[in-house]
């Protein structure tokens, strides 16, 4: 169907086509700033802290200490893109891992089959979250807080007095092992994380599902009036978040070669920090997946570097908090709404030359 009013000149195509960027791996100003920060942090630790970068294999091996956080962050960011939150990721990780471990320990299931069932368990737990939120209309914050209590207790109950441990080496390798080519070693965790990161990046920026996710996050009413099935999109986000949490739980139990019921507790707060630092707005819609991935590496490597340099965990945590406040404050000051972070930063530097993009803005009355 073509409706073409007949009066007046059509604006030049060059105008309308202007600068459609390839968005495949595009980074906005915020993500670029994070990337620069990541390079600075890595380089200065590499130069200043002995043991941080002795060789590439050793450097890569460090990532095994924080990539479970990254895996959770990927799933959690989908939920935060919708404007929701999933506080049950830690509990989900523990419960799914403990269930998988018990299936292996008590029922004699193959560890990989048990792991797949653990992943499904994570999806199921995410589905319960979604059901509570969508069907019972309970705020995501409260819904997932409540289910996190339930899941944690369930994990403790399933784990019993002596949590299962002593998994087969092949399984343990997933958490702490590395693939070797001669003297070069590439951790399995990184082998899991990299494809997932690419997948999520594409999912959010390029797929129809990602577009719906972001639309719901910006304005769920408008999404509904546009024919997007909002409950379905939300359910998918929570189910995926649950599965990612479960995967992180499995990787953690491989890392420790034991599945403990409190294993996932550490995941939650750091992961939220990663997603928020990555530039995803807690109110939904705004943000890019690329930022989250860079933020995972930034916070993870920063922590590792600090620990190697001899700072205590306490100092590292404090610094994480300070970075979070500082970065979000900077972001808010250079509000991304008009012109983007980079442009605003430039505008500030070359102040007199800038009339400001606001001059041409028309707000809807």
């Amino acid at each position: 169907m073509s409706v073409s009013p007949t009066v007046g000149a059509t604006p030049g195509d060059d105008l309308t086509m202007a600068k459609r960027r390839r968005r495949l791996f595009s980074l906005g100003g915020w993500e670029l700033s994070l990337l620069v920060l990541l390079i600075i942090v890595t380089t200065s630790f590499g130069l200043g802290v002995p043991g941080f970068f002795d060789n590439l294999s050793g450097f890569l091996a460090m990532t095994s200490n924080f990539l479970p956080f990254g895996i959770v962050a990927l799933g959690l960011s989908l939920v935060i893109f919708t404007g929701g939150i999933d506080l049950s990721v830690g509990a989900t990780a523990s419960l799914a891992a403990v269930v998988a471990a018990q299936l292996w320990a008590t029922m004699g299931l193959n560890i990989w089959v048990a792991s797949l069932l653990g992943l499904a368990m994570g999806g199921l737990l995410g589905g319960i979250n979604a059901a509570v939120i969508v069907l019972l209309r309970i705020e995501p914050l409260i819904a997932t807080l409540a289910t996190s209590f339930i899941y944690t207790s369930a994990a403790v109950a399933v784990a019993g007095d002596s949590p299962p441990s002593g998994f087969p080496d092949a399984f343990n390798n997933m958490g702490s092992g590395a693939m070797a080519w001669g003297s070069f070693q590439f951790p399995y965790q990184l082998l899991i994380f990299i494809p997932l990161a690419v997948l999520f990046w594409l999912l959010v920026t390029r797929s129809a599902f990602g577009r719906k996710l972001v639309t719901v996050g910006y304005n769920s009413e408008a999404a509904r009036y546009s024919g997007i099935r909002v409950p379905r999109v939300l359910a998918a986000a929570y189910v995926i978040s649950g599965m990612m949490a479960a995967l992180a739980g499995l990787v953690l139990s491989a890392y420790y070669s034991a599945a403990r019921a409190d294993m996932g507790d550490v995941l939650l707060l750091t992961t939220i920090a990663m997603v928020v630092l990555g530039g995803v707005s807690i109110f939904g819609g705004e943000g890019r997946m690329g930022g989250v991935i860079v933020a995972v590496l930034l916070l993870g490597l920063l922590r590792q570097g600090m620990l190697i340099a001899g700072f205590s965990d306490m100092v590292t945590s404090m610094l994480t908090g300070a970075i979070l406040i500082g970065s979000i404050a900077i972001r808010n000051i250079f509000s991304t709404r008009v012109g983007g972070f980079g442009k605003r930063l430039l505008a500030l530097i070359r102040r007199p030359a800038i009339a400001g993009p606001d001059a041409t803005r028309h707000d809807a009355p």
Binding site: M1, S2, V3, S4, P5, T6, V7, G8, T10, P11, D13, L15, T16, M17, A18, K19, R20, R21, R22, R23, L24, L202, R206, S207, A208, R211, K212, V214, T215, Y218, N219, E221, A222, A223, R224, Y225, S226, G227, I228, R229, G285, E286, R337, V338, T360, R361, H362, D363, A364, P365
Partner: protein
């Protein structure tokens, strides 16, 4: 007459000279002169959007005029805030004055100005509060318990409490923003008794109404606004119903270009039968044919948007049926209806119509993402660019580029993007709710041409509009709605401004007459 105040009456004469107000490029008031005199009731009349409420909000300090000045007893007056207006004795009674439902009547009346007592331990003098609240209610002969909760009162009672509140704080100028439309005729009578008494006591009163009969009954002076201008003002005596209606509508004198060609066919695509969604509307039935532009006229709150939302499946019907191209689609969810060819352009663009933070291209494709070509599950950037560029070109959207956030466009261009989003899905039926809301005058005609083009292409279009001129300009047929029911159907030459306005205002007067 009962003397309401303890002291000799301080009289207040509120004047407005050359008041103008613009919101961005939109002029809502131009050069308004008014005089509110003590002991008299001045009525502001006008159609939806004539600028009555804006004028009141300026008089009450809620808005600052863009030009012109206010005077009080001849002296220039600047009202920086509602608080300042109150300090000068100006009180605005809102149409639905339920602010804090948990407060008692006495607390409501003293809100923000509780009398304090005690030398060392300062505390609220509740005794004084109760005594004075009681006294003023008794003065007005109002039978309302000062200890009852605000939420237990009816709207009519709340309005009367607001009157009492005005007196309590020595406000001698009381403005009523369309007080009667939510009231029953008995409640209207009660309100008028109180208003007359206040006027007799020397208060300066003004109120807004649509209802000609009650305006003629209560007013001493009448001022008629149209399109932000004061078109007529005189003492009540020189007005009759005919003069009121014709000045309000005004356009009998001016010819509105009607469409020359009609694209109506015999093929019915939308049938609505006995549709109801209580309490908003009931017994709504009509048919919409291919190529037809059907208008839905009525006052704000008559249930027009609710009808549209019910047909579109985002509001539950309580009775009746909807058939789209012969298929029953009653209470089907909107994502189904969109695929079946029914689309809805909502009234509130920012909330329902579009995602202003997303780009033009993303908004264009948001209606039916499946249309964008995909490879390996990924949306094709090139294809989206093509769709976006086509929309921008065909609908002549003025923008800097497809990646510009919709928020940065003017209202008219935003609306064109929303139109393009739906038309690209190839609908059979389009429901347009206030299609030119927030659209600058220049772009209105472009939107009208778009709507005509939709009909020409064989769409059935339902236009909801509060602008009579718009309905006259566009529609093959107009249905009039009053308080949730269809009251008139206009066709052919009947579709002129006077007849369209009278079709629902006339009902208003019939109902509103005490």
């Amino acid at each position: 007459m009962i003397q309401l105040s303890r002291e000799p009456v301080a009289q207040a004469l509120l004047g407005a000279r050359g008041i103008a107000k613009r919101f961005g490029p939109v002029e809502v008031l131009r050069g308004i002169d008014l005089e509110l005199r003590p002991g008299r009731i001045l009525t502001l009349m006008g159609e939806n959007g004539a600028g009555k409420s804006t004028m009141f909000r300026i008089l009450a300090g809620q808005l600052q005029p863009s030009a012109g000045e206010l005077t009080l007893n001849g002296e220039s007056l600047r009202l920086a805030s509602p608080h300042a207006a109150h300090a000068h004795g100006i009180h605005l009674v809102p149409q639905e004055p339920l602010l804090l439902p948990e407060l008692t009547v006495a607390e409501t009346m003293f809100l923000g100005r509780l009398p304090m007592t005690g030398a060392i331990f300062r505390h609220v003098d509740w005794k004084d509060v109760r005594r004075r609240a009681q006294a003023v209610l008794r003065m007005l002969d109002l039978d309302i318990d000062i200890d009852s909760c605000a939420k237990t009162l009816s709207l009519a009672q709340l309005q009367l409490v607001e009157c009492a509140k005005a007196l309590l704080h020595d406000c001698r100028i009381i403005l009523f923003d369309e007080p009667t439309s939510p009231l029953t005729s008995h409640e209207v009578d009660n309100l008028f008794v109180i208003m007359r008494r206040l006027a007799a006591d020397g208060c300066t009163l003004s109120f807004i109404s649509h209802r000609t009969e009650e305006v003629l009954e209560i007013s001493d002076d009448i001022a008629v606004l149209r399109d932000g201008r004061l078109v007529d003002s005189a003492e009540r005596g020189s007005f009759d119903r005919a003069r009121l209606l014709s000045t309000m509508v005004g356009r009998t004198l001016r010819d509105i270009p009607r469409r020359e060609s009609s694209y109506v066919t015999e093929q019915t695509v939308l049938e609505v039968d006995g549709l109801a969604s209580e309490p908003s509307f009931r017994r709504i039935g009509f048919q919409l044919r291919r190529g037809e532009i059907l208008g839905l006229a009525g006052l704000v709150g008559a249930g027009r948007t609710e009808i549209a939302e019910t047909i579109f499946g985002v509001r539950r019907p309580t009775a009746g049926s909807v058939r789209l191209a012969g298929e029953t689609v009653t209470s089907k969810p909107c994502h189904d209806l969109i695929r079946k060819g029914l689309v809805y352009v909502p009234e509130d663009r920012a909330r329902h119509g579009a995602v202003l933070s997303m780009t033009i291209a993303q908004n264009v494709t948001s209606g039916l993402l499946e249309r964008v070509r995909q490879s390996a599950g990924l949306l094709s950037d090139a294809d989206e660019t093509r769709l976006g560029a086509t929309a921008v070109r065909d609908f002549r959207v003025r923008c800097a580029g497809l990646d510009q956030p919709l928020r940065e466009l003017s209202g008219g261009n935003q609306q064109k993007v929303v139109f393009s989003k739906w038309i690209a899905t190839g609908p059979k039926v389009a429901i347009l709710d206030e299609p030119t809301r927030g659209v600058d005058v220049g772009s209105k005609e472009e939107i009208y041409e778009l709507i005509e083009a939709m009909a020409r292409d064989g769409m059935a279009v339902l236009v909801i509009s509060s602008e009579t001129e718009e309905l006259v300009r566009l529609c093959d047929r107009v249905l009039s709605l009053y308080e949730g029911e269809l009251v008139a159907e206009l066709t052919g030459d009947q579709i002129n401004p006077a007849a369209v306005s009278a079709s629902y205002l006339g009902s208003a007067h019939a109902e509103g007459a005490p």
